[in-house]
């Protein structure tokens, strides 16, 4: 007899009754206000992080603009030796993330700009855009993603951990069942009435995050973020219903749900890290540095030979008398070392890519991981956008080299006519299909987990099993 009978004949009425019961408790208001405060604080933090990123980007842009102006003005007066222009590094800038207030992600750790010059052997540099206290990097930021991934489930569970376990404990469950209420409908309604207010505030905060310092076209990203948050919330509510099907007391339900939270949010991610790092360990930076210098000193000793072989291969670039000067020799040496080291450097990029692929494949081991990946991806502060930046910077290095290196060897003067051809770095955002397909996969996975938990809960919440 799966009928939604009295006392809740009218579903709308029964739902409002559940809502009123929920709001009648003082604890509910405390919970909701606390959640709202936490969200506002995290939004303020995210907004500040977004501002910092914009400020740094402006600084880089200003510097680039000033240099471009200087070169232009100089070229208008006279032709320039290419060495004067090519020697100075050009800034390749990753523009601020499209939805920075959603998640700080890796933005506090990975550089948002890189200096590219003709000289391929950079010294090991700090490789960062900002000075940061390492303890803060370790702790992570109190941003919206943190609140949504870690705390949202806790608030949801605090509101909905006792869907019927308390009734069972008090002996009122049989009474309710005796009235012919379908327990599935009844519990779903309860879970929804208690979860909805928390989720509404969460969704609202995501919408606000889209409005804070977001780039153009942030609407789609906001929409996806809202869907992901709802799916994630649905998962935890379904889990609460499932646990309530078994728990003998409210305290037992709370204990079980708390433990599951710890498992999914704290334990599984650290274990996945272990798997990832053991499957695809990163190579050693220390060895890379030392090897690069060893290669450099070998190339250095072969310097003259390198230059002459270079000119043999490129007679059109050879200066009069086939004798390269010191600068040409340095460039030839650096190119040689750069070529030798490229595959070694590539190993780092492939190791992280392989790691990320494992993470992508296993992210559904915990909905928290899938959620975290989806949010940083939507914010534009995750792995993929920064990878796109790094790949484009590598291409830009080649462009810069292809343009300036022949002029450098030939000492062909740069004139005003060359100005429009100077290589400039312009970051091309990923196509929206790329991030959409990743986020959709994540969303589908979280939804599937939510539905699975819901189905198991529904099976368990049959009147017969509940009464037993």
């Amino acid at each position: 007899m799966e009928r939604d009978a009295a006392p809740g004949g009218d579903p709308v009425k029964s739902f409002t009754l559940e809502l009123r019961l929920f709001f009648a408790e003082r604890a509910t208001w405390v919970l909701l206000v606390l959640f709202a405060v936490v969200l506002v604080y995290s939004l303020a933090n995210g907004a500040a992080a977004g501002r910092t990123a914009r400020d740094s980007a402006e600084l880089v842009e200003k510097d680039t603009f000033q240099w471009a102006t200087q070169v232009r003005e100089a070229l208008e007066r006279q032709a320039l030796d290419p060495r004067q222009v090519a020697g100075r590094p050009t800034s390749a800038l990753l523009p601020p993330a499209p939805m920075p207030a959603l998640a700080v992600g890796q933005a506090d750790l990975l550089p948002a700009h890189e200096q590219v010059s003709l000289w391929r052997l950079e010294k090991p540099s700090e490789g960062r855009s900002e000075l940061e206290n390492p303890s803060r990097l370790l702790a992570g930021r109190f941003d919206l993603a943190f609140v949504l991934v870690w705390l949202l489930p806790l608030f949801l569970l605090a509101a909905a951990y006792d869907l019927c376990a308390g009734d069972r404990e008090a002996g009122t469950l049989r009474m309710v069942l005796a009235q012919g209420v379908s327990p599935r409908v009844w519990i779903a309604r309860r879970a929804f009435a208690r979860g909805a207010p928390v989720l509404v505030i969460a969704v609202l905060s995501v919408v606000i995050a889209g409005q804070i310092g977001g780039a153009e076209g942030v609407g789609a990203r906001t929409g996806f973020a809202v869907l992901v948050v709802i799916a994630y919330g649905a998962f935890w509510l379904a889990l609460a219903a499932l646990v309530n099907g078994y728990a003998r007391s409210a305290a037992a339900a709370a204990t079980a749900l708390g433990s599951i939270w710890v498992l999914f949010v704290l334990v599984v991610p650290t274990l996945l890290n272990v798997v990832v790092e053991n499957l695809h360990p990163s190579p050693s930076r220390a060895e890379l540095v030392a090897e690069a210098r060893a290669a450099a000193s070998v190339a250095e000793k072969r310097g003259n030979e390198l230059v002459s072989s270079f000119y043999r291969d490129h007679p059109e670039l050879a200066p009069v008398g086939m004798q390269g000067d010191m600068m040409s020799r340095m460039l030839a040496v650096q190119d040689e070392v750069g070529r030798a080291m490229d595959p070694v450097k590539q190993r780092f990029e492939s190791a992280i890519l392989a790691q990320q692929e494992v993470v992508d494949r296993w992210r559904f081991a915990s909905p928290a991981i899938a959620m975290h990946e989806a949010l940083t991806d939507l914010a534009g502060t995750g792995y993929w956008r920064h990878r796109a930046f790094r790949v484009q910077v590598e291409t830009f290095k080649d462009q810069l080299h292809a343009y300036y290196s022949p002029k450098f060897h030939k000492r062909a003067p740069l004139t005003k006519a060359d100005l429009p051809n100077f290589p400039k770095f312009e970051f091309i955002e990923e196509s929206s299909t790329a991030w959409r397909s990743r986020v959709l996969a994540g969303l589908a996975g979280i939804l599937a987990l939510a539905i699975a938990a819901g189905v198991v809960a529904a099976l368990r919440l049959s009147p017969r099993k509940l009464a037993a």
């Binding site: 206290n133 806790l154 709370a254 210098r293």
Partner: protein
């Protein structure tokens, strides 16, 4: 009586299937974390040693050149990891592991391991410290929330009290029983970690065992605080359910919210300088002098005049040594003062922030524990600073030796001078020892004070809750 109650609680915990499950999980995580960390530290040590050897070879075999050019060629040094990083990696993934030492410049450490990892790494790295800081307190909460509130609800507390058992014995017995259950769980884990430490490939540095002892002490104090606080809450609440709600909320605030909240708030109050500003100001001071009055060129000019006057000569070529080398020495000295000032200010700020977070431990003991743990494990910023400082001192010493060689061995005005392998070999290799346990103790002092205060306060709370123990709370 206390012993009987404690024993009863211990047996009860052991019979609880959920506790057994949780305990086994925590135990496995602790041991796995220790084993993996040891493997990782061993691998990193091997990589670093190989790189150090190769760098030395690069240096010695760089060929004949002007000794100041050799200063520009420079050398890379690598940060050794602390033996106790096996237990708590601390900030290690977030600070550079390599410093390039060269003439004229003090470089920052480069290559953060976290930059070569996915964002998942920041979700939390499995470490023994993390398990003890976060998971064990949760286990305590789950054991303790019903210890008195549950008995109150079921009415057994009334029975026990009516038998004339002193409330103090009940409360203390419960607390000791829970503490014993946790101790039984952690002893084998501690034994495994100690064995791992004693069998590490490298001989343990001096003070390692003292540090390990301190680590055991601070963790014991932290867990004692959690046990006492949890039992006291259970003694003062009407139902097990409300005790659980309060304790879980406190656990989440302490373990999950506090670390991020504290570091964000402290950063807001004590902001870090902007990188661009830091570099520009430092460069400006190198060029213009710290007081901003004397341009570097002017300072060098004065220095030249002074030197000539001292030796009674009219031209630098008449001096009995290579003047260029002498100027290099002087300019390194001047730049050193500027670097000390700027890096000193930057590092002081980071340490100020870290100390502020430790003091914020008065609000959440986890903050104090974390900073004490990193201090004794040798993986906090204070230790990193010692390494960076040692590397910089090494840089200055090695650049000084090179410049002195130029000054004494190159003929005045000789631009073709070249030193060779003998000089390169004579330059010392970089060695860095982890600081003594006493220094770590000094770093950890604020956190130790905070933890001691928590211990006293939680025991007082426990005692107070005993004096107010009631069979029924209305």
């Amino acid at each position: 009586m206390i012993a009987t109650i404690a024993k009863g609680e211990l047996v009860g915990a052991w019979r609880d299937g959920r506790f057994r499950l949780g305990a086994v999980l925590v135990l496995v995580l602790l041991v796995v974390a220790g084993l993996l960390a040891r493997q990782q530290v061993a691998r990193e040590t091997a990589e670093r040693d190989a790189a150090t050897a190769l760098e030395r070879k690069n240096w010695v075999e760089q060929g004949n050149k002007n000794s100041h050019s050799a200063g520009h060629y420079g050398v890379n040094v690598f940060k050794p990891s602390s033996p106790l990083a096996v237990f708590d990696r601390g900030i290690e993934p977030f600070v550079g592991t390599t410093v390039f030492l060269e003439a004229h410049r003090q470089n920052q450490t480069a290559f953060l391991p976290a930059q070569d990892a996915t964002a998942m790494r920041r979700f939390g790295e499995l470490s023994a410290a993390l398990a003890l800081q976060v998971l064990v307190p949760l286990l305590v909460v789950l054991l303790a929330f019903g210890s008195l509130a549950g008995e109150r609800e079921s009415g057994t507390l009334r029975q026990t009290l009516s038998l004339g058992v002193a409330p103090r014995s009940i409360v203390l017995g419960k607390a000791l029983g829970i503490a014993a259950a946790i101790a039984l769980l952690l002893t084998p884990a501690a034994a495994v970690l100690a064995i791992l430490l004693s069998r590490s490939a490298e001989p343990a540095a001096e003070g390692t065992w003292t540090r390990a002892g301190w680590l055991a002490a601070v963790y014991a104090a932290y867990i004692a605080v959690i046990v006492a606080g949890s039992v006291a809450v259970s003694a003062s609440t009407r139902t097990a359910r409300s005790a659980l709600t309060i304790l879980l909320a406190m656990w989440a605030l302490n373990c999950i919210v506090a670390p991020r909240l504290a570091s964000d708030v402290v950063h807001g109050q004590l902001p870090m300088p902007k990188l661009a500003v830091f570099e520009v100001e430092m460069q400006k001071d190198v060029m213009e002098g710290l007081d901003g009055h004397d341009a570097r060129s002017k300072q060098i000019e004065d220095f030249t005049k002074r030197t000539l006057a001292e030796h009674g000569k009219t031209s630098v070529d008449q001096l009995p040594f290579n003047f260029q080398g002498f100027v290099m020495l002087e300019s390194e000295r001047m730049a050193g003062v500027v670097f000390d000032h700027h890096f000193g200010k930057l590092w002081d700020r980071i340490q100020e922030q870290d100390r502020a977070v430790a003091w914020a431990g008065f609000a959440a003991p986890m903050l104090a524990l974390r900073s004490a743990s990193m201090a004794f494990a040798g993986t906090d910023f204070a230790h990193h600073r010692r390494f960076a400082r040692a590397a910089e001192e090494h840089r200055r010493e090695f650049v000084r030796l090179l410049n002195e060689d130029l000054m004494n061995n190159a003929r005045p005005g000789d631009h073709g001078y070249a030193a060779g392998r003998a000089l390169w070999e004579a330059l010392p290799e970089f060695r860095h020892e982890v600081a003594s346990a006493a220094e770590a103790w000094r770093d950890a002092r604020p956190s130790l004070i905070v933890l001691a205060a928590w211990l006293v306060a939680s025991l007082a709370f426990l005692g107070w809750s005993a004096t107010r123990l009631r069979a029924v709370i209305l």
